[in-house]
């Protein structure tokens, strides 16, 4: 197992997540894409911790755990916003949410 394999996988995962966030119409699907991007970043952290200088501290693991916690909170907030928007606009199609157009 080399480092580069992990990096490639993490990059691929990030791009898939980005693609999903940019090209799907449903708001929740965008949130899924954002989660995937976060997961990719996590993977990157762990990879660099594992293959980096050996240290007694579990630095990478701690960062990953923080990151997961924050992702969860963010997902909650995002879902709450989607529900609020749905209540107002009666749609989850982000193409139709262009009131900020100027």
């Amino acid at each position: 197992m080399t480092l580069s394999i992990f990096l490639i996988v993490s990059a691929a995962l990030f791009c898939v997540g980005l693609l999903a966030a940019l090209s799907r119409r449903h708001a929740i699907f965008i949130l899924i894409g954002i989660e995937m991007m976060l997961a990719a970043a996590n993977l990157n952290f762990i990879a660099f911790w594992r293959f980096g200088p050996q240290s007694p501290y579990p630095t990478g693991v701690m960062v990953a755990i923080f990151s997961i916690a924050i992702a969860a909170a963010e997902a909650a907030v995002g879902l709450a916003m989607v529900i609020a928007i749905y209540r107002h606009f009666r749609t989850t199609n982000v193409d139709q949410l262009n009131r900020l157009k100027g």
Partner: protein
């Protein structure tokens, strides 16, 4: 004094006719009494001269001093002016009775009288010049008094302009004199310009100064070549002619020469200087020429006008040959009898309801006896019938002085001829007007009211009485004027000169009576010598010559100036205006095209930019997200490139 009267009359307006006349006459009487009061002390002292100078204003440190003076010459002139003026004023009350500008007439008359007195009493050449100009102005107003007559207005203009030409010379003379002598006062306790100290500083230009001042006299007194205004000035009312052209204004020229006589006679060799010679010759030419023209005139006043010109020439000759006293005496006597003649003519004109052509008069001897008698007296005085009539004595004196002129005897002979002609034309006039059968409307003539006849009688008496003062047997007046002592000498009563003048006057009268005895509508001279008559009748064509040359020149100059003004100067002004307009157009264009367009372009650009920018704000989340991702990628690459 009379100037105050003039102002008062003008203030009263034109309806207070009687008041106007009264104020004028009163003014004259007051002036007369003042003249008499002034005259008396001059009788006692020989060579009397009283001077009062004061400073008018100061140029920095140069005071301008003027003053009044009183000496025998001034006192005698004042007496004559006020006395003759008074009777002329009285006469005018009758003559101008039907005229509606009555008050204005008396205002002008008073103004004239005041100005003339100013000329006489002035001690400063400047004050004299100011009064001189005022006299000229008054004469313009009076000659053109009947303002609705274009010939009167033209005559007034001609008078003013002609005298102005003379006055230009006069003014140049004053300037020249001031430049050399430093003062314009005549007598100033030794520093005046007529006193020896100043005369010597004038030096060699004294002839020039004298001649320039003489120009003024030539214009005002109607000497050749500036005499052309006098006959035309007969357009004014007859009292005006009497006052101005007989007694006073034309006399001002002679008075001027007498007054500045010391300037003329500087450096005299045997009593002859070049400036005096000029005076003599001009006087002779004038005297003879005017007498010749007078023989052929047919307007009663024009004959008298030319007679005045002729007599003035005579006076100039007298002054020129050194007989200053004789000339002034003749001036005073002439004042009396010429005014008398003019007033008589006025009476005739008034009686015939303003008919002035003598060929249409006749036989007035019986119809207007008072006028005839007084006129005859005046005529005899003018012709020089001796012993009883004043004109004779003075003429004799003049002839006497002229015959002794060392420079030439020609003036003397010409003057003798002039005397004959004088008698001739006066007789002609009297024959035409008073004798013979009535021609035309003459049979309707009537004598004037007593306001008109009384002055005639008074002046006639004066003309006779004055002769008492003038006899050479008792040269009182001469001594009075020149300051020598007098003695009574009965030898001088009969002199060879008396016979000469008697013969001449008698010859003139005899020729006149014989020639014009049966004169009809057409003048006998005209019948016998038509060419000569026409030449003389048309005033020797002098007016026409002037008209062709000088006036044409002036008209040409005026037209050229007008053209220049219209096209050149006006064009220049308009051109500058156009430049300004061009400027304005350029500025406006710049403002419109450049600035406005620039601003418009800028705003359009901004709007376009905004439009472009607003497309980015699509409001779509995914677009924003895409932008973030792109930005991040760019950063990454940049980072990688850096490392």
């Amino acid at each position: 004094m009379p100037i105050i009267g003039a102002l008062l009359i003008l203030g009263f307006g034109k309806h207070a006719r009687l008041t106007a006349a009264l104020v004028a006459v009163l003014g004259q009487i007051v002036a007369l009494t003042m003249s008499i009061c002034a005259f008396v002390p001059t009788l006692h002292v020989h060579g009397f001269r009283s001077v009062q100078n004061f400073t008018w204003f100061t140029f920095g440190d140069q005071p301008l001093r003027i003053g009044f003076m009183l000496d025998p010459l001034a006192a005698a002139m004042m007496l004559m002016i006020t006395f003759v003026g008074l009777w002329i004023f009285v006469f005018s009350i009758g003559y101008m009775a039907e005229d509606k500008n009555f008050s204005r007439f008396f205002a002008y008359l008073s103004f004239f009288s005041g100005a003339m007195l100013g000329v006489v009493v002035a001690n400063s050449l400047l004050l004299l010049f100011v009064s001189w100009e005022l006299v000229g102005l008054a004469s313009y107003l009076l000659i053109g008094f009947w303002i609705d007559r274009p010939s009167a207005a033209a005559a007034a203009k001609k008078a003013f302009i002609t005298t102005r030409v003379g006055d230009m010379g006069f003014f140049l003379g004053i300037l020249c004199l001031y430049h050399h002598a430093g003062t314009l006062l005549f007598y100033d306790g030794g520093r005046g310009c007529l006193e020896p100290a100043a005369l010597s500083t004038i030096g060699s230009s004294v002839t020039l100064v004298a001649l320039l001042i003489f120009c003024g006299a030539v214009g005002k007194s109607g000497q050749f070549p500036l005499h052309v205004w006098l006959p035309d000035a007969m357009e004014g009312p007859t009292p005006v002619s009497a006052l101005i052209h007989a007694a006073t204004m034309v006399a001002a020229g002679v008075f001027l020469v007498a007054r500045v006589y010391p300037i003329f006679s500087v450096g005299a060799i045997n009593g002859v200087t070049s400036s005096l010679a000029v005076v003599v010759w001009i006087g002779v030419i004038t005297g003879l020429m005017a007498a010749l023209i007078a023989v052929a005139q047919s307007d009663i006043k024009r004959i008298l006008a030319y007679s005045t010109v002729s007599q003035l020439g005579l006076m100039m000759v007298s002054l020129g040959v050194g007989g200053v006293a004789a000339g002034i005496m003749h001036l005073l006597a002439h004042g009396f009898f010429k005014a008398l003649l003019f007033l008589g003519a006025g009476s005739v004109i008034h009686g015939l309801h303003h008919e002035q052509d003598i060929r249409k008069m006749g036989g007035l001897r019986k119809l207007m006896p008072v006028t005839f008698a007084t006129y005859a007296i005046g005529m005899m005085a003018l012709s020089g019938v001796p012993f009883f009539f004043s004109g004779a004595w003075t003429k004799e004196e003049i002839l006497h002085a002229t015959s002794h002129w060392p420079s030439s005897h020609v003036p003397y002979y010409l003057l003798l001829l002039g005397v004959i002609l004088t008698a001739l034309y006066m007789t002609r006039q009297v024959m035409y007007v008073f004798f013979g059968n009535s021609r035309g409307h003459a049979s309707e003539a009537h004598e004037g009211p007593s306001v008109m006849t009384i002055p005639l009688i008074v002046l006639a008496i004066c003309a006779v009485a004055f002769s008492v003062f003038l006899t050479p047997a008792w040269p009182w007046l001469e001594s009075y004027l020149t300051g020598h002592t007098a003695e009574f000498d009965s030898h001088l009563l009969i002199q060879p000169m008396v016979f000469v003048s008697l013969v001449l006057a008698g010859a003139g009268i005899a020729i006149g009576v014989w020639f014009y005895r049966r004169a009809g509508e057409v003048d006998p001279l005209q019948q016998k010598q038509p060419a000569v008559f026409r030449f003389l009748e048309n005033k020797m064509w002098i007016d026409e010559i002037y008209g062709r040359t000088i006036i044409a020149l002036a008209a040409l100059a005026a037209r050229v100036s007008d053209w220049m003004d219209r096209y050149i100067w006006d064009g220049l002004v308009r051109g500058i205006g156009r430049v300004g307009q061009l400027f304005g157009a350029i500025t406006a264009g710049t403002d419109e095209g450049v600035i406005n367009a620039g601003v418009d372009e800028t705003t359009d650009g901004a709007r376009g930019f905004g439009r472009v920018m607003s497309r980015l704000h699509s409001g779509q989340i995914q677009i924003y997200l895409g932008a973030v991702a792109l930005g991040m990628l760019a950063l990454l690459l940049f980072y990688a490139w850096l490392i």
